[in-house]
Every structure is written in C-alpha cells, then in structure tokens.
C-alpha cells in the first residue's frame, strides 16, 4: 500500500498564487505522518485533493502506482476514513447519525453492537452522553471523540485526520492514540499540536 505525491501543485480559482507547490511525499503502510504548517498553508486542501474533492493543477498523486482518479479514487475512498476538524454528521440523535455510515454497503459488516460502541464511548470519556442526545447539541470535543470512535469501528486502512486533537485534553489524546495507531495502517494527520507531532513517525512541513 503506497501513496505517492509527486511535484503536486494546486491553486484555488480566483487566487493568484498556489496554495500547494512542489509537494513530494511517499507514504507506506505503517507510516504515521503529521502534516505541519500554519493556518492557511494547505493542510486541509491536501486531504481534499487526496479524496478527489479538488483536482490538482500540477503533478500527480498515485495509489498503488495508479493515478488517483476514477476507479482508483473509488477504491481509495473505500479504504479511507476522513475525520474533518469539525465533524458534521447531520440532524438526528447520536444513535441515528453514528450508525448511519454503517448502512453503506462497504461498511455493513463492521457495524458494532450498541454494547461494543458503549465500551469505546466510555473509554473516550463519552459515558454521560445518551444515545438519544441530539448530535448537534454535543460540544466540539464530544463530536470529535464520536468521530474518533467512528474511525475505530470503520477500521479502514488509511486514516486522514484533520486536527484530531484540537478540542481534546491530554488524557483524551492518549486514548485516541491507543485506539487509532496501528502498525498496518497509514495515518496522515494535519496538526499544530506538539504532543501529537511527537507521536508521529514522520513530520512534513507545508
């Protein structure tokens, strides 16, 4: 499982200068990589390019040696979970929105029982939240931890984490690491957090 960025460049419409330029990176299975950089340097954009939500202007991204588009992109999306900085799962109770991604054909087999999900929720400090609670009424930190639990249960080969610890305390961060860091995965995270940077095997500056 290899992900390769070669001479990648991207410029947003109506912007004169590129937000990403001459970006090279090779990511192998087991890599835990932190993308570091100030706000507005293109960390989130890099994830959007990877997921095919934007089309790069220069260079290439390959997955298993093939350009990340069409069937390869579909295959990549099926092997990935992306945790945005502010997770929006929509309207509904925690139970409804948490289980929704497990209705997808690709994820059906991974659907956890309520008791299994509760064990992970407790571990992440979400014990006090009822399944009937409105997801939108949860705090940013709570939503972030629900997202972490989703990443754990979806159990994909590639994790794209956008500021995964921005609303978490030190204890929660340790737990996130324990839950998500596995040797057989690729973990790419965009972060400012120095503690998180120390946990990664490689740091790339944008």
């Amino acid at each position: 499982m290899t992900l390769q960025f070669s001479n990648l460049g991207f410029t947003y419409q109506k912007q004169a200068s590129p937000i990403i330029q001459n970006f090279y990176l090779t990511v192998e299975k087991g890599d835990i990589i932190a993308i570091k950089g100030a706000s507005g340097t293109g960390k989130t954009t890099l994830f959007r390019l990877l997921l095919g939500f934007e089309k790069w202007s220069v260079g290439n991204i390959t997955f298993h040696g093939k350009t990340l588009q069409n069937e390869t992109l579909e295959q990549f999306r099926n092997q990935t979970t992306w945790l945005p900085q502010d997770l929006d799962l929509g309207e509904g109770s925690l139970e409804e929105v948490f289980y929704f991604p497990f209705n997808f054909k690709n994820n059906k087999a991974k659907k956890p029982s309520q008791s299994d999900a509760e064990i992970v929720f407790d571990f992440l400090g979400l014990k006090e939240i009822s399944w009937n609670a409105e997801f939108r009424s949860l705090s940013t930190g709570q939503r972030q931890r629900v997202g972490i639990a989703l990443c754990h249960f979806l159990d994909k080969d590639i994790l794209l984490l956008d500021e995964p610890t921005s609303a978490l305390d030190a204890v929660s961060k340790e737990k996130v690491k324990e839950l998500l860091f596995h040797k057989n995965k690729i973990i790419l995270s965009a972060t400012h957090d120095s503690w998180w940077l120390d946990q990664c095997t490689k740091i790339v500056e944008l």
Partner: protein, 265 residues
C-alpha cells in the same frame, strides 16, 4: 339543482368588496395597494383567458389538443419551479424537472381516470384537464420546496456529503439524508392540509362541485380521490425531479457542481 350563473355586471359589483382590504392596506401604509390591484387584474385576466380557452377545449375535446395543453401547463410550471428556486435555468435541470413532472402527472392521471373513475375515454377534457391542473398546482409547490431544499442543503452541508463519500459511501448512499429531508419538507404542506381538510376549510374543488349542483356525498368522494392524487403525484414528481436532475450536477468523481446555483451560492 343547477348553479345560477353570474352576470359580468354582478362580478364587477363583487369587486366593490376590495374597498375594505384596500382601506386597511392604505391605513397602515403597507405600500401594497398597487401590488394588490395588479394581482387582482392579473387574476381576472388569467382566469378569463383560461375560462374561454377551456370552454373551447371542452367543446372540441380532442385528445391531442388536451395533451398539448397539459404539456404547456407543465412547461410553465417548470419555468416557475426553476425561477422561484435557487437553481439556474440550465438545460439539464429544465429537462429533468419537466420530464419528472410530465411523466408523474400522466401516471397518476392514468391510474385515477382509468381504474378509479373508469372513464370510457380517459382523455376526456372535462375530467383530464381539471384533475391534472389540481395535481400540477400542488406538484409545483412541492417541486419548489423539495428540489430547492435538496440542492440548498447539499451546498450548505457539502462537508457532510464529502465525509460520507470519504467513508465508503456511494453517491446514492451519501445523498440519502439529503433526499429524506427534501421529500419530508415537500410533502409536509399536503400532509397538513389532509389532516385538517373538512374541519378547518372546505376544499375548493368540493365547494365548486356543490355549487354546481352535486350532492355533498359525491363531492367528498371526488375530493378524497383528488387528495390521494395530489399526495402521490407531489411525492412522485419531487422524487423523480431530484433523481433525474442529479445526472447533471455531479462530476465523474461524484463532486457536486455548485455552479448550478444562482450567484454561486
């Protein structure tokens, strides 16, 4: 029992009642006097035109002319849907909404006229045109609410759609919650009116039938039928409208093309 016809003079006299609302609007400086007069004038002109036209249509009663009239009605409704929504008048969207409404209407018409009323000729203008008009009016409202809500929500919550795609969803699976919300919103007004019909208000069609001499028991049967037709027709047209239009607003990588929205919202 037959209805007593109104003379044009009587109708003109009826306009005198407008003095009351116009006075209230003037007293509260609402700036709605000219708008009201224009709306009343338009209403009269449009209805007079339709009245004469339908008189001819009912007399002539040619199936092709009837079908052509429905075609024109759907075409006007299609323009109105896109103009009153946040969507641009793009060819693909226009054709999708038109096809969804036209096919949906004909299907509902066919079911009720052929199997329920059991007309010997389902293209008979006296039945086909008013029933289609009643369903279409409600489909128009449903389409404006439903299609607009679907694309507006998708723009507002694009990150959510992207999150689902990036979690292994197909486009169809990722759009499911947006579909659900749009369908619920579009059908809510019809559901509310079905829940209160007969208690809070007497529906226009039933009132019209009773005024023209029908027994209330016949009138309610037609009203029940038309409410079922409106409910099913609206939901079907909105569902197909969204389904057909999707073909034109996503790229090969399932990304939503925001340029279909007016002023690039």
């Amino acid at each position: 029992m037959s209805i007593s016809d109104l003379h044009w003079g009587q109708l003109a006299l009826g306009l005198l009642i407008l003095v009351i609302p116009l006075y209230i609007l003037w007293k509260f400086k609402t700036d709605l006097i000219s708008k009201t007069l224009i709306a009343v004038a338009r209403m009269i002109l449009q209805l007079v035109f339709v009245g004469y036209y339908l008189e001819y249509l009912f007399k002539y009663d040619n199936p092709w002319v009837n079908l052509a009239w429905i075609f024109v009605m759907v075409l006007v409704a299609d323009f109105a849907t896109l103009d009153r929504s946040e969507l641009k008048r793009k060819k693909g969207l226009f054709i999708s909404v038109f096809a969804a409404t036209f096919i949906g209407l004909l299907l509902i018409d066919f079911f009720f006229l052929q199997f329920i009323i059991q007309l010997p000729n389902i293209m008979e203008a006296q039945y086909l045109i008013p029933i289609t008009g009643m369903i279409l009016g409600n489909c128009l409202r449903g389409n404006i609410i439903g299609i607009n809500d679907f694309y507006y929500n998708l723009t507002q919550h694009q990150e959510r759609y992207c999150f689902f795609l990036a979690s292994g969803a197909t486009k169809k699976e990722a759009l499911f919650p947006f579909f659900r919300t749009a369908l619920k919103k579009s059908i809510n007004p019809t559901l509310a009116s079905m829940a209160t019909i007969g208690l809070v208000s007497l529906p226009g069609m039933m009132t019209g039938q009773m005024l023209s001499g029908s027994s209330p028991l016949i009138a309610i049967k037609y009203q029940i039928m038309i409410m079922l037709a409106i409910f099913s027709g609206t939901l079907l047209c909105v569902y197909w409208g969204i389904l057909f239009s999707q073909r034109f607003v996503f790229d090969i990588q399932d990304n939503f093309d925001k340029s279909i929205l007016k002023e690039n919202k």
